[in-house]
Symmetry: C2
Subunit: 576 residues, 2 copies
């Protein structure tokens, strides 16, 4: 039984917390707060939710993660992909903008969190491993394309909507070509202006600051913070020139202050409809958070505990549900900024949460004048860097199975949405693995003359005997390849009529499961019926232990030899 | 492209067909026919269908299989498990006994057949390998229990129904304890009498005939044919004593003669509701048929082609649909009888089909007086031998993963029905395999003093160096275990602060996929950040080829060594 303290990584750092760490954490929290505000607003918009919910999702989850999280620097809150998945999941159940839609998003955060928490307690973190890297890259790439496209309408001031290419592209086309096109020139100017500024801030600003003698870290932090300036400037423009009256879409009135305590809806129907989506969101949230956390931890020779991360992300999502938020995860860019700004402990997250809480009192009224086009531009620039086209080329060069997995994931995500895409990617990669191991490399071997070595008869000049067939299997024997092995052996014995002995050389067999054992029993029995003996050589220790737990060795018509050399030497002797 | 003739294994035997084979086949077909008639009637009853449909499903499918099948002796027709699965699938959609129910069963045969055919053409037979032996054994055992229990009401003359224990047991209990219990004493006598006779025929008859000097084969064939005698005797009793009037449930009037040509219903709705069931039935039908066919073929050193079997079973099922039948498969007992009776070619199946066709004209009217209790007893005895309790003990002794797979399959099949059971078994065995390979055996190795050998430091007295860490991984590296590997390496380097070199010894790594490559890149990068070099030793040829298709080796901070000995020798030299 794990001690309670093992579930509270906070205890590791809070006992030795000192002034130096306090200073570092405070500075980092200030920087993260400035970055988080526009990002949170934007991702709430992406999820189809009121912008203040983005801020709500950035307060309590940060504090809860600081208590339960095993990473020192991961920053939890709304992230792009999870927001898109939230929109896809909730959009199936309720109309965007309705109270039901908000309630479904809150409940989704709770169900996702509960699922993560249960998986963490049961230590099922390994399940996330079944999403292969190419599938994740493909999924994120396709999601980023969908996100960028889904923000075009906000940028252009039109109202096209959709969760995949088949929905978005025709909607965009119809909106733009309609007789009464809604295209708003002010929106386009604000949006494109912000876009150009943000791209410059990413590309040009860093170079400029470096030339002016700033350190690389500071330059990158400034570039990451650039959206806040766009928010301030465009909000001010909209206010001074009353651009809302000219047709520019604004965020509009939002309630000031901290969120009320909210409860997810405890309805069996709603939970059932959300369960599949929650499972996918939980998986992606976990995989993304852990890989970001692991990357940052390794840089300081720290470690993170994946099962503990499940618990921390689970409680963070549940706390998001109780404070009017939506599903959250550890974000890449925010965590990197937190790390680079010098955050030493998760206390930095707590301070950031407090600062955002204060901001909800001070700045929320001003958001009424924030143009949606500004947020759309922020999102487009943020997700652009997630698009990983080279993965296709890399997978193509590396292996057909990986290329298949990544392209199926990209195509299905683009055309059928995030949930179909990630589910298909998962299934394809598992099937591809099973397919590969279901047809293992098998060699017929013979003796290298004058040595005790046995090699593939197709590649080497080796000695064989007409009445002995030696087969080397380069894979663990388990249910997916037992039928292949049976087929192969029956095929080989049907071809060789002088055969008296079959030797299976098992030096590369790491495991034998019950299916394989039963296949070996069947092979032994069928060979016996045609007067051929079955022998084994070079069985590994753990595999031999397991075979001795069955009565297979008693029924075996032949012998188990320590080495292939001894087997052939014995069986080829004249007496045999 | 495969030649057309490759799809017609019939061409292999028909060109050399001779009088000797004709004699053998004719005798076998006669015996199979006698066995098939009661079996087909009984399995139709089990599927909830009119008994004549069982005969219909035994005519055209046998002929079609003879044309396309690669097995010389497999006998195709209604089988117990598939009939139970048909009842479960169709029972969800229509009321037993209704025209819709029959139509759904016919359509199910068509969809199942089409699926098998497509899988055969696409050569996807390997997919069936993912059902492990323990899962199949567990599934068949639990199905046999359900089948036996589901026949009790017919035996007792009551009307309880159900597709799993949770449905059948309470229904049986209610029927028996109701104030107006329907328990029919004549039914019980006929049923139990038949049961006792059939058990004796299985157990005692063989021994008796052997004592009287009959050969083992003949004794077994007679025992297999014993149900026909029970059918004849009990039908005669019911006719002479007019037992129907006394409340004994009889089969009742059935139309005489061959089936009319029937068409499956081409309704998208119906197909969608049948698709999942059809996939499961197709899988079980394929797995069962292939293992029976393979077992028989091996006894004569013949071979069967699994992909061709998919095509043959597919067309057989489609032909069943066109002739008023339901889903069929290769049956174990009928195929064994066919084999033991000396069938030389699939022509035996054609002759049996013709004989059954003739029988539909001669005997169908007499079936009106056949007691349902007789058929119920036949089914119970037939499925009893399918129950494999020792598999639980065997799996328990052999491995936890296999025990888990078999017990989950048995419990879920018993309590939630065949479809849930087999689906869960499939998922559990794949997950178990992935789980096992996701935590591969990894050893830290050191040099055996005075040799070039490297062994596990926990098991042997070996030499190590504080600045070198050598890790041997006993598994292919792929997406399911890359995170484990990363975790492990980060954990190890966090513990050893003098470390300068990590060597991965890859002599047991049969494959590296793109996920693993990216993990290795990440490990390389993170080790670089903390000034540790990453090296490899003993990479296998095909794995090295693949790594050279990427630019990983260019980025590698360390070297690739041909042997672990060379790696340590080089890195421990004083200059390093």
């Amino acid at each position: 039984m794990k001690k309670i303290s093992a579930y509270l990584p906070m205890l590791d750092w809070i006992r030795t917390y000192n002034r130096h760490q306090l200073g570092n954490d405070s500075l980092a929290s200030l920087i993260v707060m400035v970055m988080l505000i526009p990002q949170s607003l934007a991702y709430a918009l992406l999820a189809g939710l009121p912008p203040e919910m983005g801020l709500y999702a950035s307060i309590l989850p940060l504090i809860v993660y600081a208590i339960f999280g095993s990473s020192r620097t991961l920053s939890v809150g709304p992230v792009a992909i999870i927001s898109l998945m939230t929109a896809a999941a909730v959009g199936k159940l309720a109309l965007e903008g309705s109270a039901d839609y908000m309630m479904a998003a809150i409940t989704l955060a709770f169900v996702t969190g509960l699922m993560l928490l249960i998986f963490g307690i049961l230590k099922l973190g390994f399940l996330a491993n079944f999403l292969s890297h190419p599938v994740i890259s493909g999924f994120i790439t396709a999601s980023a394309v969908i996100i960028a496209l889904s923000q075009l309408p906000n940028l252009l001031g039109i109202s096209a909507r959709g969760h995949n290419l088949l929905e978005i592209v025709p909607a965009l086309f119809n909106s733009l070509t309609a007789a009464n096109s809604e295209l708003n020139i002010i929106s386009v100017m604000i949006g494109l202006g912000t876009l150009v500024y943000l791209v410059w801030a990413r590309v040009g600003l860093v170079g400029l600051m470096r030339k002016l003698g700033t350190s690389a870290e500071t330059a990158i932090i400034c570039s990451r913070l650039s959206p806040i300036l766009a928010v301030i400037v465009t909000t001010a423009l909209a206010f001074w020139f009353d651009l809302g009256a000219a047709g520019l879409a604004l965020v509009g009135h939002v309630p000031s202050g901290l969120p009320d305590f909210s409860l997810p809806r405890f309805s069996l129907d709603l939970w059932q409809s959300l369960l599949g989506s929650a499972a996918l969101i939980a998986t992606i949230a976990f995989v993304e958070s852990v890989s970001v956390a692991q990357g940052l931890a390794a840089k300081r020779r720290q470690r993170i505990d994946p099962d503990q991360e499940l618990i921390a992300l689970g409680t963070a999502n549940m706390s998001s549900a109780f404070s009017g938020g939506f599903p959250v995860a550890g974000g890449f860019s925010r965590s990197v900024v937190n790390f680079d700004a010098g955050a030493a402990t998760p206390a930095a997250g707590v301070y950031a949460a407090i600062l955002i809480g204060v901001a909800t009192f001070l700045f929320l009224p001003a958001l009424a004048y924030l143009p949606k086009a500004t947020l759309a531009a922020t999102i487009i620039v943020a997700v652009w860097s997630l698009i990983d086209v080279p993965i296709l080329k890399k997978a193509w060069r590396f292996s057909a199975a990986d290329f298949m997995a990544v392209s199926v994931t990209i195509v299905l995500t683009l055309f059928f949405g995030v949930e179909t895409g990630v589910a298909a990617g998962l299934i394809v990669s598992v099937l591809m693995h099973l397919y590969k191991t279901s047809k293992p490399h098998v060699a017929i071997v013979g003796q290298v003359p004058g040595s005790e070595q046995f090699r593939n008869i197709d590649r080497h000049m080796v000695e064989t005997h007409a009445h002995i067939l030696s087969i080397r299997i380069d894979e663990s024997l388990y249910f997916a390849n037992t039928r292949y092995l049976e087929d192969l052996i029956y095929k080989l014995i049907a071809e060789q009529h002088e055969l008296k002995h079959v030797i299976l050389m098992c030096n590369a067999v790491n495991d034998i499961d019950l299916s394989a054992l039963e296949s070996l029993e069947a092979i032994n029995e069928r060979l016996r019926e045609v007067d051929i003996k079955l022998h084994f050589s070079e069985i590994k220790g753990p595999v031999m232990d397991r075979l001795q737990n069955s009565n297979f060795l008693l029924k075996l018509t032949g012998q188990v030899y320590l080495s292939q050399y001894l087997a052939v030497k014995n069986l080829s002797a004249p007496q045999q």
